[in-house]
Amino acid sequence: MSAPATVRTAITGVGWAVPGPDFDPETELAVRGMRHKDRSSRFALRAARRALGDAGLLDAPELDGAAVVVSCNFGNLGPVCDFVATIDGEGSAGTSPMRVPHLSSAAAATWVALDHGMRGPNLTLSSGASGGLDAVAWARNLIAAGRATAALVIGMEPDTPPVARLHREAGGTGWIDGAVGLVVEPVRHAADRGARIRAEIAGFGRADDERSAVEAAGGAAVRRRLGGEPNARYGRCSGALGVVQCAMAVAELEAVAGPEPRAVLAVAGAGTEEGDGSSVAALVLTPPQGRPA
């Protein structure tokens, strides 16, 4: 699968909500409004706010027509397992009505939409390790199809006891606990509002093997490949992988100065560092390519 770039799109905001020096989950996940949210929704809401803030789009009128695109594989596994444990013990009467929405994989995306009045398409993908890069490509598709003015892409995975057990049984020793957000918007729109373009989305490909995916993305000549770096830093990233890769690529494109044209190729999926049965997605990001004619 490869998409002709009918509308040039760019990343204009990045928001990290991954525990570390800049993100203390003890306080960040306990702010007002979080009480009845599950862990993945809390992470998503924090990453969303940071990414929109970074893009200068918090409270912006164009959010009304913006899409939310989430990639997450294990978000509702915790709530689902909690519910069956409660049902086994106390019957359905013991379950919490406030937690019923979190049985759906789509819960985090709808909380984010509600938090920012984002009334465009509300898409959640649970496609395995390729899902994060897929999400960026679907965001671009939704914009190109005239369905969204902009899109907030969020990759997230929560660490809950069922998630930990599943990873351990599959040979994992570490896994991410957090979310990363990206704002994707048309280059023209970003230029018109004077936003800083962090990277342009140059190509995307999806295939059963890495070489074909990279070719479809137009990335065969790109020397810098980002694959398992997020896993080395955070453990298995699963549905968040591609989004973390893009956030790291943006930082790299901004940090490395030089006369040569640069680009970063991100590759995620089976056969790369996370073999989870998914196919392979490849995405090429470049520095800003100038104002559209």
């Binding site: 490869s2 019923v100 959640t124 395995g128 049965g277």
Partner: protein, 379 residues
């Protein structure tokens, strides 16, 4: 622009072919039956719309949603004349629960689970060689979201053929959660009826093959004219009529149609107090100037709420209704709510056609809406 629908298949409590499901709905049959595998002592409700395919009574099996998905995708491709599809053909699978039922069994140590079981790529690759699979989990609007995304892939030139599917098996967590939040267990689903008491879960799968218009004219079963998709962003659980109205209007705009062009509507009609109300208010608003306005029906009284595949199941029933000129009635509807007073609700017995153009709804939890406009094969 339109897209050709060249193959379709479905399975649910009422049957395992589209004509069988449609005929059962027209005859007023219900797929509701006593719980067959869950421990009914744990719930107030004792019935659901299950697919009766477990090998041993009372013993659950993992990966049923995956099994149905593979089956309906294979059948839809066979009907489309594509039994050995191009491996990179996109497959967009809409699902609310994925294999969370298998995860529940795993959590109790009654079945194995691997991360790859939670998306549908490995199963479709091994059964049909298809690897370009996307698991769309946008709640109960998921399969119509997949349809909208498929139209975009074809419109942009990215693909000529896309398979769109939906699948879900009933999970104990959601069955228990809805058992907890509904005031008392509904005896059946009565969409738009004053006495409605809520939603009852169903299960099953549906698939359609969508192709660029004119790709294989001999096999056209119907056409997709346009899909609208959005989010209310208004309330955590209660649907907002304004969001549904926007989704309908977007679908009409993409289809280049006016409200008066719609012959029939298959609503989401989950039978819950708020969702039915929101849909009725939205329909009244959109069709207030249409005379006489479309016929309106719902299938969930017969099929149950099949979750992620619900929108696509509505769609194949709509196309079969157009083909057979017979639109099934809303099961259990005797006394319509006031807000639906001006709608031409089909009740009691099927309505007869001809019908040309149908509007199909999916309203998901969290305010996720999708509306598709489809028409019959004959123009």
């Amino acid at each position: 622009m339109s897209w050709d629908l060249v193959g379709m298949s479905a399975i649910c409590a009422l049957g395992d072919t589209v004509p069988a499901i449609h005929a059962a709905l027209c005859s007023g049959r219900s797929g509701l039956a006593p719980l067959s595998a869950f421990d009914s002592s744990r719930y107030r409700a004792g019935a659901a719309y299950e697919v009766p395919d477990r090998a041993r009574p009372g013993v659950d099996e993992p990966l049923r949603a995956t099994r149905w998905l593979v089956r309906v995708v294979r059948e839809a491709l066979a009907e489309a004349g594509l039994p050995e599809p191009e491996p990179r053909t996109p497959v967009l699978v809409g699902t609310t629960h994925r294999e969370m039922r298998t995860a529940e069994l795993w959590w109790r140590r009654e079945a194995p689970l691997s991360p790859a079981d939670l998306h549908f790529t490995p199963a479709l690759r091994s059964a049909l060689g298809l690897h370009n699979v996307h698991t769309v989990t946008s709640a109960c609007a998921a399969s119509l979201y997949g349809l909208g995304m498929a139209t975009d892939l074809i419109a942009s030139g990215e693909a000529d053929t896309v398979v769109v599917a939906g699948t879900d098996s009933i999970t104990e967590s959601s069955f228990g959660g809805f058992d907890r939040i509904q005031p008392r267990p509904p005896d059946t689903i009565r969409a738009f009826d004053r006495s409605r008491r809520g939603m009852i879960m169903g299960e099953g799968a549906a698939a359609v093959v969508l192709r660029r218009a004119g790709a294989d004219p001999g096999r056209v079963r119907g056409r997709v004219r346009g899909v609208g998709m959005n989010c209310d962003a208004a309330h955590a659980t209660a649907p907002d009529p304004a969001g549904i109205v926007r989704a309908i209007e977007e679908a009409h705009e993409r289809a280049s149609l006016a409200p008066g062009d719609i012959d029939l509507v298959v609503v989401h009609g989950s039978g819950t107090s708020q969702s039915d109300l929101a849909e009725a208010v939205a329909l009244e608003q959109v069709f207030k100037a249409a005379d006489p306005g479309p016929l309106v029906t719902a299938v969930k009284g017969g099929t149950g709420h099949v979750s992620g595949g619900a929108g696509l199941l509505n769609l194949v029933v709509a196309l079969e209704s157009i083909r057979s000129r017979t639109l099934p009635p809303i099961s259990g509807l005797a006394d319509p709510i006031e807000e639906a007073g001006h709608l031409r609700l089909v009740s009691g017995r099927p309505a007869t056609g001809p019908f040309g153009t149908a509007q199909v709804h999916a309203v998901g939890m969290g305010g996720i809406n999708a509306v598709a406009i489809v028409e019959g094969a004959a123009r």
